[in-house]
Structure formats: structure tokens, C-alpha cells
């Protein structure tokens, strides 16, 4: 699992590659927590899951943990380019209710920056 982070204004873009499970999620948790701490302005988390090949409930748990923080900040959670398998897991977990699917990062950034949120 590899993850890379980018901030654009109030948005944090997290790009995941590989498999997010019990073994790999602690690393992701640590890195995303660091990003949240060093960028207290972050309200929007954009998860680019195009290259995420696998996720189970251990991986989802870490994302949900971040969601709770976002909520306190009045923010939002987006999943970009989720494949059908990942969409289904998100739907089943209920994470989908509190988040949105989007076709591209650019699309979300446009909405965020355009003040449409």
C-alpha cells in the first residue's frame, strides 16, 4: 500500500494505491493523522481510490475515524473514481451515506473552491 497526500486550500487529497487492510491501515492512519494535524484548515477529504485494489472493514475503519474529525470541523468526505467493488463495500458500511462519490478530483475541487459546498 502506498499513499500520497496533497493539500489544495481547505481540501486534502489522499491518493491510495494497493491494498488497505489490517496490515497496511496503521501506516495510512499515521500519515493521514499527520496531515490533519499539520493542516488544521482542512475541511474536505478527497480520497482518490482509483488505484486502490482492495479494502475491507479494517481499511474502512481508518477512513471512518477521519470522517469523525471532519464532521467536527463541519467538513465533507469524497471518494473519487471508486470501482464497483469499492463502491459496494462503502455502501454496505454506511460510509456512503456520509460521503459522496465523484468522477474526478478536479470536479470536487471546483465545487469546493466555487463555494458550492
Amino acid at each position: 500500500m502506498q499513499c500520497s497526500f496533497n493539500t489544495v486550500g481547505q481540501a486534502l487529497i489522499a491518493k491510495l494505491r494497493g491494498e488497505l487492510d489490517l496490515h497496511t491501515s496503521p501506516q495510512f492512519k499515521e500519515e493521514i493523522t499527520k496531515s490533519f494535524t499539520t493542516h488544521p484548515q482542512i475541511k474536505y477529504l478527497i480520497m482518490d481510490v482509483k488505484d486502490l485494489q482492495f479494502i475491507d472493514s479494517s481499511g474502512l475503519g481508518v477512513i471512518l475515524g477521519r470522517y469523525r474529525e471532519l464532521e467536527e470541523r463541519g467538513g465533507r468526505l469524497f471518494f473519487v473514481e471508486a470501482n464497483p467493488h469499492i463502491k459496494r463495500v462503502l455502501q454496505m458500511s454506511g460510509l456512503q451515506k456520509i460521503s459522496e462519490f465523484a468522477g474526478s478530483t478536479a470536479e470536487v475541487l471546483q465545487r469546493v473552491e466555487g463555494g458550492q459546498l
Binding site: 491494498e19 487492510d21 489490517l22 496490515h23 482492495f54 475491507d56 472493514s57 479494517s58 474502512l60 475503519g61 471512518l64 475515524g65 464497483p84 467493488h85 463495500v89 454496505m92 458500511s93
Partner: protein
């Protein structure tokens, strides 16, 4: 209709082995005629069961996880077993959202197993261990 075949494997309770276990099971299961989506479902279910043995059964400590995969005809049976702390109430454990580690976990492991497999059977004895049986049949497909 596939002639019976099986594999048994065991490995130490180590988070590195979760990916190995789910991929090896899918590899063996692929001797049957699943779609890629169905194989993905099997992977998720195995990942949940093996992760549970490691986190809950052995509380991330030492132990052995055993996995058996068997098929006959169109029926696939996967058994995931640990000799860890066991589950006092298996019905409650399988409720969506129930978890004994609420700070960290979502209580969705068993829910995913039930969702992705046709049948899930859990037996457990406190201080002895837990056995999860996951069953899935290859769906009848229109001849193509």
C-alpha cells in the same frame, strides 16, 4: 461440476499474512468458475475472518491461524480457525456494529462475511478458540 479438491494451510498470527491468506484462498477457489466480482467477495470474507483471528482471537499476539478450502461440485467451503480467546456470545458478535474494540473497529467484519458469502457458521469456545465456516456456491449461469 468440479471433482472434489481441497487445500489446508496454517500460518502464524501476523498481519502480514492477511493478504496472503485471502489471495491464496481466491487462487485455489479460482479452480471453480467464479466471476472476478465473486472472487473479490470471497477475498473480503476471508480477509475479515483471518483479521478477526489475529486481532480478536490472539489480540495481535502469537498464535496459529488455520485455513481450509474445499470444493465439490459448485459448492465452496472455507474454514478459518484460531485457538485464541474465543467469543462468549456468537449471536451478539455477528450483529452489525457490535465490536469489543469500539475505539478502533466498526463491528462490520461478520456483516461483510454474511453479505459476501451464502452462509456463515460461527462456533466458538471461550479460551479455546473460534471456527468460522464460509460457504458459497457458484451461481447457475445461462449457457453462453
Amino acid at each position: 461440476m468440479a471433482e472434489r479438491n481441497w487445500v489446508k494451510f496454517e500460518f502464524p498470527s501476523d498481519t502480514r499474512n492477511v493478504a496472503f491468506a485471502r489471495t491464496a484462498v481466491a487462487l485455489f477457489a479460482s479452480q471453480l468458475d467464479w466471476t472476478l466480482d465473486e472472487l473479490e467477495d470471497i477475498k473480503v470474507a476471508v480477509s475479515e475472518a483471518v483479521s478477526n483471528s489475529i486481532i480478536h482471537g490472539y489480540q495481535l499476539g502469537a498464535g496459529i491461524v488455520r485455513v481450509e478450502v474445499e470444493y465439490e461440485g459448485s459448492k465452496l467451503t472455507i474454514v478459518v480457525e484460531d485457538y485464541g480467546q474465543g467469543i462468549p456470545d456468537v449471536a451478539q458478535a455477528q450483529e452489525t456494529g457490535f465490536t469489543t474494540i469500539p475505539e478502533e473497529r466498526m463491528g462490520l467484519g461478520f456483516t461483510f462475511m454474511h453479505e459476501y458469502m451464502d452462509e456463515v457458521l460461527v462456533s466458538s469456545e471461550v479460551q479455546k478458540g473460534t471456527k468460522v465456516i464460509l460457504i458459497k456456491e457458484v451461481p447457475q449461469r445461462p449457457e453462453g
